[in-house]
């Protein structure tokens, strides 16, 4: 294994527009459309539509095209990622700044907003509004990418201002050629059948296919189609979105609960998905409360089931969580298309995992001292200890000694710092890696 593993999907991003391999006519046209739109900017005659929206399934070469074009023409890309906070304000600022002057080197600029449909509508409430205002007067090309721009009602006014450029899934032939090239350069030996299986599994998403290839390469031997099969099916987000819709709009409890056998995730995760998305679908409070009631009942049964290992309770949990939401649908308007979200709770818990692990570790040391369970230590003692130790150095020292905590651990325990051990930058890198992972 190399010391620093590079992500192949990044390493082999096309450097020039001509490196992009599209066989489909539609994608060729999309490429042409984008190039000529950009060329109008370069010629100093900005097109009437001052933003372009490249949309299509993940891994079809949208972002790559923008990067390749910019590189080839010496343009500087200003990237505003949807996960940046307060994107609205930021975009206004970037647009103003970049419109005011050219870069120091005189290079042109492109403002790239990746995954514009992937933003959190609450946090970035202002984003779409800001864009609608900024686009008509922008003096730099604004390029956005999206998977499904119609999934967000908030985006509709935006669409009219954009040159819409559609990308389709790439042909198998194109993908095989790209993968073969990478395999050759990385000295990975792989069957042609295995490549085909890989592409089929990833349904034309090149980035996922490259990620898989890299993972398989770690086996350090010849790769066959069987290896691909063994990798197992990655649960695709749209699959679960569709599945959730079927539950929410099932006409009866019976129909809803019958869906359990085809669930793409385990019941616990399904619970989280349903819980997260209930308010998106059941917009009427009368429906919402009935659905949440059913879910809260499912939750307590689920706790009972796990704690006492009464696995027979699972069927009632499923009735309540699946049937409960289906039955609750009465007053809410059946919406056209509701965007579903990944469970936020899971995201938060994953993000704070290290912190929680550290707290638990400390709680284990506190157990024999305070004669309580870790859970009670964290909920009943810690809030007070935080106040006490923040104010009273003597108490702080004695506690540090009793629990054998370093100064830094003590700071962490009392909430003075959120750092566990690693420095912040490392964390940010990890987050970026995850983001990439979720995009792939």
């Amino acid at each position: 294994m190399p010391v620093r593993a590079e992500v192949w999907a990044e390493k082999y991003r096309p450097k020039r527009v001509s490196d992009l391999i599209y066989y489909r006519k539609k994608n060729q046209e999309a490429l042409q459309k984008f190039v000529s739109w950009m060329k109008q900017w370069l010629a100093g005659t900005p097109p009437t539509k001052r933003a372009a929206l490249l949309y299509g399934p993940p891994g079809t070469g949208k972002t790559s095209l923008v990067h390749a074009f910019a590189r080839e023409h010496g343009l500087v890309i200003f990237e505003v990622n949807a996960s940046d906070q307060r994107s609205g304000e930021r975009i206004m600022r970037v647009v103003e700044e970049s419109s005011a002057s050219r870069t120091l080197t005189g290079a042109g600029r492109v403002l790239l907003i990746d995954e514009v449909d992937g933003i959190s509508p609450r946090e970035d409430r202002g984003l779409y509004g800001a864009l609608v205002k900024a686009i008509p007067k922008s003096r730099v090309p604004i390029v956005m990418t999206a998977n499904d721009p119609w999934s967000r009602s908030g985006m509709r006014p935006l669409l009219q201002l954009c040159e819409l450029i559609k990308f389709e899934r790439r042909s198998e032939r194109a993908l095989i050629r790209i993968l073969e090239e990478i395999a050759r350069k990385e000295k990975v030996s792989i069957d042609k059948n295995a490549l085909k299986a890989l592409i089929k599994k990833e349904e034309g998403d090149l980035r996922s296919a490259i990620n898989d290839l890299q993972a398989l390469a770690a086996l350090g031997r010849h790769i066959t189609a069987e290896d691909i099969e063994r990798m197992g099916q990655r649960v695709r987000e749209y699959e679960i979105f569709e599945y959730l819709r079927r539950i929410f709009y099932a006409k009866s409890i019976k129909k809803a609960r019958a869906l359990i056998s085809s669930s793409p995730v385990d019941p616990d995760m399904l619970f989280e998905w349903i819980y997260e998305n209930i308010p998106q679908v059941l917009t009427d409070p009368r429906d919402l409360v009935r659905a949440m009631w059913a879910l809260s009942e499912a939750d307590i049964l689920r706790a009972e089931m796990k704690q006492r290992q009464y696995w027979t309770l699972l069927k009632y949990v499923i009735d309540l969580m699946m049937g409960g939401v289906a039955a609750a649908f009465r007053y809410s308007k059946p919406p056209g298309f509701v965007p579903m979200h990944f469970p936020e709770r899971i995201r938060i818990l994953a993000k704070t995992k290290r912190e929680r692990e550290k707290l638990r570790e400390i709680a284990l040391r506190a157990k024999p001292v305070f004669h309580v369970s870790t859970r009670r230590f964290l909920t009943r003692y810690l809030p007070y200890l935080r106040v006490i130790c923040s104010n009273d150095p003597k108490a702080r020292n004695s506690l540090a000694q009793a629990l054998q905590l370093t100064d830094k651990e003590m700071d962490f325990l009392i909430g003075k710092t959120r750092e566990v051990e690693e420095k912040r930058p490392a964390k940010r890198v990890r987050r970026r890696a995850r983001r990439r992972g979720s995009r792939a």
Partner: protein, 334 residues
């Protein structure tokens, strides 16, 4: 981690005194225990006769159950009682494996000395799975000659009957306000902390019969190094950022469930507030909400009670609190 070793290292008499008052002022002998006269009298009889049955201590938190068990051990075995006892907490070690291995290992050997049996203190025993309880019941019978159990729980109903019938049951009631007041005032005097009369009344009230919480509250309030007033106590008790909480309730009542849930998440995951505290704070706020009539308030209080109970039973805090938000949204709309 070698818990046994840690235990000895940390709690051995290394001359270190832990300046956390719940521990510092934890009673060392049965007579020191606050209130619970009947229970103490029965336990002292065990000490006198040097014999005891398996015991089951039940009652709400902070009423002296664990303390009573530790005091009993100390009086039976003397100062190095720790070698004779095994402290377990079922909430962390609830699996059947604990019963099968750790307990059996500990209980297998005779104890040399005046008292021929060891003692196992199993805290939060109501968290044991039913399988584990069944196993425990057998273990209790098998090792009667070498071992005594003290099971401690909040809810007697969650202990299977065969175990109940094998134990002497001790009920620990919530401490009367007067007793909590006395103890708090006594500790304040030991620590030379000035308190106002109202501050003490407030502490007693908030604690609701839980002496541990009362002492924690007192120390946190005293840690500012000034006189402990009612205001300081209220501020500490409101560790839950109140504004955020109110905001969540308002949002819910305006029908913005998604935003309300986001606020609750911030409380739980960012501020690390205990869900039980959140629910109790909501309770204290609800009665003063002008925008609700009494019937609506009753409905909400019923839900709060239900949720509080469920949280104690191990339900998921965020899901349960979200349910409450949904109830608020619906109450206001109908």
């Amino acid at each position: 981690m070698n818990k046994g070793k840690l235990f000895g290292e940390l709690c051995g008499d290394s001359g270190l005194s832990l300046e956390v008052w719940v521990e510092k002022y934890r009673p060392k002998v049965l007579d020191e225990i606050v209130d619970q006269e009947d229970n103490v009298a029965r336990l002292k009889y065990f000490v006198k006769t040097k014999s005891m049955p398996h015991c089951l201590f039940t009652g709400p938190p902070g009423t002296g159950k664990t303390t009573a068990a530790l005091c009993l051990a100390r009086e039976l075995y003397g100062e190095d009682y720790r070698r004779a006892i095994l402290e377990l907490n079922a909430s962390d070690e609830r699996g059947i494996d604990v019963i099968r291995t750790r307990i059996k290992e500990f209980a297998r050997t005779y104890l040399v000395g005046e008292i021929p049996y060891r003692m196992i203190i199993m805290d939060e025993a109501d968290n044991l799975t039913s399988d584990a309880q069944q196993a425990l019941r057998r273990t209790m019978e098998m090792f009667t000659r070498t071992c005594r159990f003290i099971l401690i729980c909040n809810y007697l109903g969650r202990i299977i009957e065969p175990i109940q019938s094998r134990c002497a049951i001790f009920r620990f009631g919530p401490l009367p306000p007067e007793k909590i007041k006395q103890r708090i005032e006594w500790i304040a005097k030991q620590e030379r902390v000035k308190t106002t009369k109202n501050a003490i009344i407030e502490i007693v009230q908030i604690s609701g019969g839980d002496l541990r919480q009362a002492i924690n509250l007192l120390q946190a309030a005293a840690s500012f190094g000034k006189e402990v007033t009612r205001d300081v106590v209220l501020r500490i008790a409101g560790l839950v950022p109140r504004e955020d909480l109110k905001q969540a309730l308002q949002l819910a009542m305006q029908g913005d469930f998604i935003e309300a849930r986001r606020t609750i998440r911030r409380l739980l995951y960012q501020y690390g507030v205990s869900p039980t505290d959140v629910i109790r704070q909501i309770h204290s706020v609800i009665l003063d909400m002008g925008e609700l009539d009494d019937q609506q308030k009753l409905e909400i209080i019923r839900t709060i009670g239900e949720i509080d109970y469920r949280l104690v039973m191990g339900a998921n805090d965020e899901v349960q609190l979200s349910y409450l938000l949904a109830v608020l949204a619906a109450v206001k709309q109908s």
